[in-house]
């Protein structure tokens, strides 16, 4: 029937995902059957596939072809498209990092890249879901791949420990999420987010309230919100660094885009959930930052920092609650949306950059994980040290970096939405954050290297390029946030 969407239109909308799937099939089969020995083909093909998907996604975003698809089970609006771009960029950087990392470890197993691409598609589906059940399936695709990838280094007992911890706790959390979905369904007779938005107000039953609570729990786990965060440091530490980097970026983006969607449609009953979100935000900001201070392992520190950043993003979610409170609230809601997307971009660049530096340094044969390992880095490897310095400043939200711009946008959204208290807590905890980010800067710049002259890191294309791209983005979008805002600003 002309005019109404056909299945082909729907498939076109998820074309980037289809490209990812096809790439993973090709990689899976090719690794076993065609190019058994040529391990470099895996990352190269994965990059090609991701780039094609990225190109398509960018084209679709610019031409604004987005719409609801598959009988409203997907909502390929700007939020979905832009978050897909963020995820594909994360995937791209993570593949580059993995290339170096896996090679150094002799872990170049053909399944790594397909798993990663599949999990990217799962994460993108979470961001595009208009149906809670699609969100759930997307989350599980993402999670299953991550469980396996966390345990990818089979000779490392820590990696296996990370895997089982992540798996058991993740499955536990997703059971709660599922129960939440069931209760929301019971209260509103629908799981479609666009339908929910129009129904929740008249269905404010205890069942709905409990359902919302469990949704917060399930999504909060993925996003590493306190008190559902405890897996984070252990898994970040134990998992292979390339996986940690990817996980930090992709899981955070997926979880928060999903949260934005869910709480956007739950805005009519914001009085129910606002208090809890505020409390979790404060808790997450304060304790995430506090706990990071005492860490001696960079990966663990970055894990707590990722928790702290989740806290900042929760401020945006809380701001979303005011979306329906008049024009100022609507503006604040829009800002929270665009701001958190910007922030997610910033977070993924700076976190992958920081992990990338660790991976690049580990190229020397020894694993760089402890803060101590970075002592006096500026003396023997100034370029890497400056890249790290920049990522730390960005993570700490110090201008003129992208991290500052992202934080500022959420700050601004919170202010316009009237979340003054949260904004103040955000400002104060940002100071606390300076303690631990600058500890690394301090150790790199002001302390003597432990060894006289460690062997210089071998050049590795993947890690170098990834760090370079992240650093360039962190600087460029820090100075010229408008460039990225043309993209994130589409999400209104």
């Amino acid at each position: 029937m002309p005019g109404s969407p056909t299945i082909w239109d729907d498939l076109t909308l998820i074309l980037p995902l289809i490209v990812l799937w096809i790439t993973s099939f090709v990689l899976l089969l090719g690794d076993v059957v065609v190019w058994k020995k040529n391990r470099d083909l895996n990352p190269i093909l994965a990059i090609v596939g991701t780039l094609i998907a990225l190109g398509i996604a960018v084209y679709q975003t610019i031409s604004l072809t987005g719409d609801k698809a598959f009988a409203r089970s997907l909502n390929m609006d700007a939020l979905a498209q832009v978050s897909m771009i963020a995820l594909l960029v994360t995937g791209l950087l993570a593949i580059l990092l993995a290339w170096t990392y896996l090679k150094n470890r002799g872990l170049e197993r053909g399944e790594y890249y397909p798993l990663m691409l599949l999990s990217v598609s799962g994460a993108a589906l979470m961001g595009a879901a208009n149906d809670l059940i699609v969100l759930f399936i997307g989350l599980e695709i993402l999670s299953f791949a991550l469980y396996v990838m966390a345990g990818f280094s089979r000779s490392d007992i820590r990696s296996e420990e990370a895997s089982i911890k992540y798996f058991l706790l993740g499955a536990f959390a997703s059971a709660f999420l599922l129960y939440g979905i069931a209760l929301v369904y019971g209260a509103t007779q629908t799981t479609q987010l666009s339908e929910l938005a129009s129904r929740v107000h008249s269905a404010q039953t205890p069942m709905l309230v409990a359902g919302i609570g469990l949704l917060i729990v399930g999504l909060g786990f993925k996003a590493a919100v306190i008190p559902f965060h405890q897996w984070t440091p252990d898994v970040y530490e134990g998992a292979p660094t390339s996986v940690t980097a990817y996980m930090a970026g992709a899981a955070k983006i997926a979880a928060f885009v999903a949260m934005l969607r869910v709480f956007d449609s739950l805005a009519p009953v914001s009085s129910v959930w606002l208090g809890a979100i505020q409390a979790l935000a404060v808790l997450t900001m304060v304790f995430g930052n506090l706990l990071a201070i005492a860490q001696t392992n960079v990966k663990r520190m970055l894990a707590y920092s990722s928790i702290a950043h989740a806290g900042y993003l929760m401020v945006a979610i809380a701001t979303l609650a005011h979306r329906l409170d008049g024009p100022r609230g609507a503006q604040a809601g829009e800002l929270a949306m665009t701001g958190s997307l910007f922030y997610l971009f910033a977070y993924t660049f700076m976190t992958l950059g920081a992990f990338g530096v660790l991976i690049y340094l580990s190229n020397r044969g020894k694993d760089y994980q402890q803060i101590e390992d970075l002592r006096g880095l500026v003396r023997h490897d100034p370029r890497t040290a400056y890249a790290m310095l920049f990522f730390m400043l960005s993570l700490g939200g110090i201008p003129p970096t992208m991290g500052f711009m992202g934080k500022w946008q959420i700050f601004y959204a919170a202010l316009s939405g009237g979340e003054i208290m949260l904004a103040i807590v955000m400002a104060l905890t940002s100071v606390m954050a300076a303690f631990y980010y600058l500890k690394i800067v301090y150790v790199m710049c002001f302390e003597e290297p432990r060894e006289a002259a460690p062997a210089p890191a071998q050049f590795s294309f993947g890690a170098s390029l990834s760090v370079l791209l992240s650093a360039a983005a962190t600087i460029l979008f820090g100075i010229m946030p408008g460039l990225l805002y043309t993209l994130t600003g589409l999400v209104r």
Partner: protein
């Protein structure tokens, strides 16, 4: 009603399921835990059956009790974990705190009424399950398609049905555009008119329904019963035959046919999740391959 047999059966089965669940947790031997889990799954399958979910009940038995639990048992045997002494439970606060918290969890859900008073108003006894021939809004599964079909009136039966409707509703249908989701009023109007048709004279006319595939039940009823007594029932069945997808045939809600049709209907939101489960299973397969390989 003197004695509610079904309630009694429910309580017996519920007791078994709770008991077996408790034994899963309380047992030290993982093999026994697994076996009690199988019991639990079977009881749930019976529940599913009685909740008009025949297909799911079958799948529950085949997939869960059959495949999944066998896998569990296989792994337990493989790792030779039959001896429970290995994992002596340690004392400490974990267990009492855990149980207390869990009890607080369920009782807060229960006491706040999340599980008991949260359901939206609906018919106490569903129409098509207990035999009532009337429609409610919820019986119209695909309001958009129904509105389209009625407006277009492509076959004589549909056209006739439309012409029987109130002129105002007909006007509304004519004004309906494909791109819009049908408004709530339109859905209510269609429901009201359909119920009027059910209440009205026998709709059947061989000529009129020549292009409609009549279900066997409808044919049986048309052939056997006296037209007057089962008029409403026949009308309802005829309407169901004319709009096989658009309105519920909830007496077969859980059948393979219904589920299959819903699953692969592009107009329903199940196609994508269904395809996605294949991706999910692929991740599962690749993951198991990675995990199952020897180290190194």
């Amino acid at each position: 009603m003197s004695f509610n047999w079904s309630l009694m059966v429910f309580f017996i089965l519920a007791g078994i399921s709770v008991g077996s669940a408790l034994l899963v947790v309380a047992n030290r031997n993982p093999v026994r835990s697994a076996l009690f889990l199988v019991v639990n799954f079977f009881v749930l399958a019976i529940f599913f059956l009685t909740l008009s979910a025949q297909f799911i009940a079958a799948v529950q038995v085949i997939v869960y009790a059959g495949a999944i639990m066998v896998l569990f048992l296989f792994v337990i045997m493989l790792l030779n974990l039959g001896a429970p002494e290995a994992l002596k439970e340690r004392g400490g606060l974990q267990m009492p705190v855990a149980i207390a918290l869990a009890v607080v969890f369920i009782s807060s859900l229960g006491l706040a009424g999340s599980l008991t008073t949260g359901l939206p108003p609906t018919r106490a006894t569903p129409a098509t399950v207990d035999g009532s021939p009337y429609f409610t809004n919820r019986d119209i599964l695909l309001p958009a398609d129904l509105a389209q079909k009625l407006r277009n009136g492509a076959d004589p039966a549909t056209a006739y049905l439309r012409d029987q409707m109130h002129p105002e509703v007909q006007a509304k249908l004519a004004a309906y555009r494909d791109s819009d989701a049908p408004s709530v009023e339109l859905i209510s109007d269609m429901k009201r008119e359909l119920n009027r048709l059910v209440d009205g004279p026998n709709l059947y006319d061989p000529q009129r329904f020549s292009s409609v595939r009549l279900s066997r039940e409808t044919q049986k009823l048309l052939n056997s019963a006296s037209p007057m007594t089962d008029r409403k029932r026949i009308n309802r069945l005829l309407l169901q035959d004319v709009f096989p997808l658009e309105i519920t045939k909830s007496d077969q809600m859980g059948s393979v046919e219904t589920i299959g049709k819903a699953m692969f209907d592009a107009k329903q939101p199940w196609l994508l999740p269904f395809e996605l489960t294949s991706i999910l299973l692929l991740v599962g397969i690749v993951g198991s391959v990675v995990l199952a390989r020897r180290r190194g």
